[in-house]
């Protein structure tokens, strides 16, 4: 699983430009799934046909990550940028970014080294070593993602884009380990989650699932002075009860809890005050879908150094396999 996570987090894939990640995942699940297709919004829909008598189950993990989009190149070749998804200014200074074509840039600001405050958005720029718009290796409309190496500290894994490549890795691993299942499992690697759960909305319309889960990261309450939250890193995957945009289907929530108890997998219950996931969009598709979310605890979400714990990810993958092998009665 570590190798999958490394490969996926090192890939480039801001919202709307998930092609590189999609190609990697296609290779990872080829031979394991029955069929694959890419829908009009770029979602990769991988179906593992069941042996019969089961349900149509959709499990979503999003491929896209946050980024910075070039809106202007000034006379000296510096790039001005807008945000793709929830990028926070304090995470930027001195950091590096990478564009689809490999161009590397340094993030600077107008008040560089003269202030301890986070820069205002209009003060941020990217330096790609250019001296004018003519020799800039990127164009207006190109998107940059954080550039930061993947690192391991025992079970703690650190990388950019753990949100939600960690979820993608869990889903890939579960597909590989699943073997026979009565259910038609639609593993959907979604697009454009960070700009409003857009890929999940349209893929759910196409699949019409009977049960659905989203696999995504969630905050933890275990760092110094964190807002109170009963989720710790390394204490197991979290069964989401609620977040800002979503209330879990009680039956789906209980299905996950019962499964974890039965399999002896440590788990936590999650109530998140901010944010939401693909589960929100799937739940509201067509006439409504019983939907839950399995969360992966993560620290420093939407920074270049998101930290997860391998045991949580393995627990999540094992739980998915255990759940999908058995009949589902909500």
């Amino acid at each position: 699983m570590k190798e999958i996570i490394r490969t996926l987090t090192e890939a480039y894939g801001p919202s709307g430009d998930e092609g590189q990640v999609r190609a990697l995942i296609e290779e990872m699940v080829r031979g394991v799934v029955t069929e694959m297709r890419t829908d009009p919004l770029g979602n990769l829909i991988a179906l593992k046909k069941g042996t019969g008598g089961g349900k149509r189950v959709m499990i979503a993990a999003h491929m896209d990550e946050i980024g910075l989009i070039v809106t202007h190149i000034d006379k000296k070749g510096f790039l001005r940028v807008g945000r793709v998804g929830g990028v926070f200014a304090p995470t930027l200074m001195g950091g590096r970014v990478r564009f689809a074509n490999g161009t590397v840039g340094v993030i600077g600001s107008e008040k560089w080294l003269r202030s301890n405050d986070a820069p205002k958005w209009e003060e941020v720029f990217i330096d790609v070593g250019a001296t004018s718009p003519d020799d800039a290796p990127v164009r207006v409309g190109d998107v940059a993602c954080f550039s930061r190496p993947y690192e391991e500290m025992g079970d703690r894994l650190i990388a950019k884009a753990m949100d939600d490549r960690a979820g993608c890795a869990v889903l890939v691993q579960a597909l590989r380990d699943l073997g026979e299942s009565p259910h038609d499992v639609y593993a959907v690697f979604t697009t454009q989650e960070e700009v409003g759960t857009r890929g999940a909305l349209v893929s759910a319309f196409g699949i019409e699932p009977e049960v659905a889960l989203a696999i995504d990261v969630t905050d933890t309450g275990d760092v110094p002075e964190a807002p109170p939250m009963a989720v710790d890193l390394g204490a197991g995957p979290a069964v989401k009860v609620m977040d800002r945009g979503f209330l879990s289907h009680p039956g789906v929530k209980q299905w996950m809890i019962d499964g974890a108890e039965r399999l002896g997998i440590p788990y936590q219950r999650e109530v998140l005050q901010l944010g939401s996931t693909d589960a929100r969009a799937i739940q509201m598709s067509r006439a409504g879908v019983p939907t839950g979310a399995l969360s992966l605890p993560a620290r420093y979400i939407h920074s270049p150094s998101e930290m997860v714990d391998l045991r949580d990810l393995q627990g999540a993958s094992n739980l998915l396999v255990g759940l999908l092998k058995e009949p589902i009665a909500l």
Binding site: S15, T71, V140
Partner: protein, 349 residues
Amino acid sequence: MLLKDLSEARGVSGDEGAVREVLLKAVEGLVDEQRVDALGNLICLRKARRPIEEGRWPRTVMVTAHMDEVGLMITGINGDGTLRFEKVGGIDDRVLLSKQVLVGKDAVPGVIGYPPIHLIPAADRQKAPDIGKAAIDIGAKDKAGAERLVSLGDYATFRTCYEVLDEGGLRTVKGKAFDDRAGCAALVELLHEDYALDLYAVFTAQEEVGLRGARVAAFAVNPDVAFALEGTICDDLPKKKDVSPVTELGKGPALTFMDQSVIADRRLVRLLVDTAEGLNIPYQFKRAAAGGTDAGAIHLAREGVPSAVVAVPSRYIHAPVSMLSLDDLDHTVQLMKAALHTMEGGLNA
């Protein structure tokens, strides 16, 4: 002149009938099917005039422009005969003061009254006014007098005439609601051409209050790909810093890479750029991720619809007077026609 008729037609969100009438006349003889749906969208189909190859994608293209404009709705009649109002769509309070408006079906003239400078303390002149205290004055003697002329729920629009400005240079014109009557005018022009694809021209309702018409129209039409034609932000007045204007007048149609509602489909953006460069049609990018368009609703319809936005730069939108260059409008039509023809050869699904 279609743009003049469209600009002077009054059609705040939810009340697009007058604009639709102008358009129904304009598309007469150009479309094979037309209907008005439950939300007031005008959905027109110009069928392929040449056969579509088997297996080619896309076959059905939806192009939209929204009929509605921002404006006001009458929510109360005061004892003194003045009218209370709410804004419909996004309007900065500061552009409303002392403006002339037309109220209701009968176009009753009025003015958004504001005290003269003599009565405003010096300190208050530095602050944005409280529009909640403003009212529309239609000159009525009292409440009963006002009630003879207007009813609660009536819409009010800015009173602006269309005029040609710099005929020899940028071919600038000014008028009301170029967002998005410019798009409507361009979309009608697209219907004068023969294509080897089914073209749905959809004139949408209620864009300014949340892309509402486009959402249901896209569900019904179920197109393969879509384009929204817009009149977009243009702020090319001098800037203190070397930062970009969002768009510039006279520099060609503006292509969106991303706004708050949609990330434009990269294949369609590439198609537009390649088409423009191949034919030497001027174009520019909309250099900000601000605003939202019908494409935001359309691309999320059903299983998803690859969508892009092409816009005519328009100064001073969401205010009484907007300004555009007819060159930009012509180039928008030229680019869209050429892009539709390029698509006849198919795209990579």
